[in-house]
């Protein structure tokens, strides 16, 4: 692994990568498939190269929080399944899973992508709460971007279940044709820095070789709704400037892929 780390750093300096990709290329294939789980209100499977993640949306009616009594809510959880990598063990989510979940959550929440007021049914009493579970099937690097893409695809494909208006019970087996009140489409792109070069969509080996990373979540207008710096090397403002440019450009690329997939 040390050999690869040095090789990756040296190649990056020359603008090259182990698998021959350009620094700014995502792996192929990029596949986005929705409605992969009939039991979820919305679901998607995303594949970027050998990385495969699923996202599932479940809806529930709960009492709104006291300080936002006219709003529903959203929560993102991530499970890095031991099925998906020899590195993961059974047990409660560790730091990595929590980071993936929280960064994905912030990108959607802070962009106000979901109209939480429209999720309210009776102020102070009943509102829809949306839970998105991100599940890894094969972790071969770049979980942040795959998670964000899968979460958005699942949200976009979600339909409300039928609610019995007299009893208030949810009939999870039957969906309405009503979609979630989505206002925006935030997507995350993570830019990695190694040896003075910047690249996107790392493999697991490249991830391990990187010095710093910056996840940038942006919507279709280029407005940034979440940031997360990772790695133990500091970044100069000039670095961040370049990373933002690359992230905003690549978000457009991923958005095209998502639009294309949702049309099918």
């Amino acid at each position: 692994m040390i050999i690869n780390k040095e090789t990756i750093a040296e190649l990056a300096r020359q603008g090259k990568r182990l698998d021959g990709r350009a620094l700014t290329d995502y792996r192929q294939p990029i596949k986005i498939e929705t409605a992969i789980s009939w039991t979820a209100e919305g679901s998607a499977k995303v594949q970027i190269g050998a990385t495969i993640v699923m996202a599932g949306v479940k809806l529930a009616i709960e009492k709104p929080y006291n300080d936002t009594s006219d709003e529903g809510g959203i929560m993102v959880n991530a499970e890095l399944l031991p099925l998906s990598s020899p590195e993961y063990e059974p047990g409660p989510p560790g730091r990595k899973a929590i980071e993936v979940a929280r960064v994905t959550d912030r990108g959607i929440r802070e962009a106000k992508a979901l109209d939480l007021k429209k999720l309210c049914r009776i102020p102070g009493e009943k509102a829809w709460f949306v839970t998105i579970d991100i599940i890894t099937i094969n972790d071969a690097g770049n979980l942040f971007d795959a998670a964000s893409l899968a979460a958005m695809a699942a949200l976009k494909s979600a339909k409300f279940p039928i609610v019995d208006e007299t009893t208030g019970a949810i009939d999870y087996k039957h969906k309405t044709n009503q979609s979630l009140p989505l206002l925006k489409e935030p997507l995350g792109v993570t830019v990695y820095k190694v040896n003075g070069s910047f690249f996107v969509d790392p493999s697991t080996e490249e991830e391990q070789a990187c010095e710093a990373r910056l996840t940038v979540t942006s919507d279709e207008k280029g407005t940034i709704s979440a940031l997360q710096k990772g790695g133990d090397t500091p970044l100069a403002i000039a670095d961040i400037d370049k990373m933002l440019d690359l992230a905003l450009e690549k978000a457009k690329f991923l958005r095209k892929e998502l639009t294309k997939a949702l049309k099918q």
């Binding site: 992969i36 789980s37 009939w38 039991t39 979820a40 679901s43 594949q47 050998a50 495969i52 699923m54 599932g56 949306v57 479940k58 529930a60 959880n77 499970e79 399944l81 031991p82 099925l83 998906s84 990598s85 020899p86 059974p90 409660p92 839970t131 579970d133 599940i135 099937i137 094969n138 972790d139 071969a140 949810i170 999870y172 087996k173």
Partner: protein, 238 residues
């Protein structure tokens, strides 16, 4: 009134449509996708690898350890809280027992073969789908095996013995029994047998004979999935 028309129109001995694939998770040593009706199982095998904590190690042979888990959005009702429960613990345990008899880990003392099965959507028969998927994944991983294990539920709905109950049959408003069965192929022995509901002894034997035929069909599909992978068919990670 006898139950002679199944809720989904199947014949009494007819299984739901099935699909199987081997080698769908590149990180795993072996893996499989198994679908029966609306129940889907993904299985991954890691190992043989060193077993921790050490006191679980068997110095004479390796052990198999199954981990069954439903994804939080895979139930037909509310979201399932992740992290396992009594049900998933029990299923994992009976999976170990269902698969262990055909696996020879004598060459791997102190080691473990971990089998992870996760289900993205379910509609009854999940432990059977999990076992059938796990067996393909174990073979895909090259684990020494004397035989293959194939699993399906049989049962009785309102007096009629049927194969592969779907959820609406398990929940049918009459006397119902649900019997998950796993069988070895060559020796035709039963390695998993559970039941809930009510059944007469005569119907139970009839159901087990039906399970013999039904697991035979699953065996054919499992072998086909493995042959497809190893005959050089393109592996597209499913």
């Amino acid at each position: 009134m006898a139950y002679n028309k199944r809720v989904d129109g199947r014949k009494l001995d007819q299984l739901r449509p099935m699909e199987a694939k081997a080698g769908i998770i590149p990180n795993a040593d072996g893996s499989a996708f198994f679908k029966i009706g609306k129940t889907i199982a993904y299985a991954a095998v890691y190992g043989p690898r060193e077993l921790y904590p050490k006191f679980l190690q068997d110095p004479k042979k390796g052990i198999i350890r199954c981990h069954y888990s439903m994804m939080p959005f895979s139930g037909s009702g509310e979201r399932i809280r992740p992290g396992g429960n009594r049900r998933s613990q029990e299923i994992s345990m009976v999976m170990d027992a269902a698969l262990a008899p055909v696996i020879d880990l004598s060459a791997f003392p102190n080691a473990v073969v971990d089998v992870f099965v996760d289900l993205p959507q379910t509609d009854a028969g999940t432990r059977c789908a999990a076992i059938s998927a796990a067996a393909i994944a174990l073979a895909d991983a090259g684990i020494p095996m004397k035989d293959l294990i194939s699993s399906v539920a049989v049962g009785q709905v309102d007096g009629t013995v049927v194969a592969d109950l779907c959820y609406d049959e398990e929940a049918y408003d009459a006397i119902v029994s649900d019997i998950p069965v796993a069988m070895t192929h060559n020796t035709q022995e039963i390695t998993l047998l559970q039941m809930d509901g009510e059944i007469s002894k005569a119907d139970l034997i009839k159901a087990l004979e039906l399970a013999q035929k039904a697991t035979g069909e699953i065996y054919q599909l499992q072998v086909k999935a493995l042959k497809e992978k190893y005959s050089g068919a393109k592996n597209d990670y499913q």
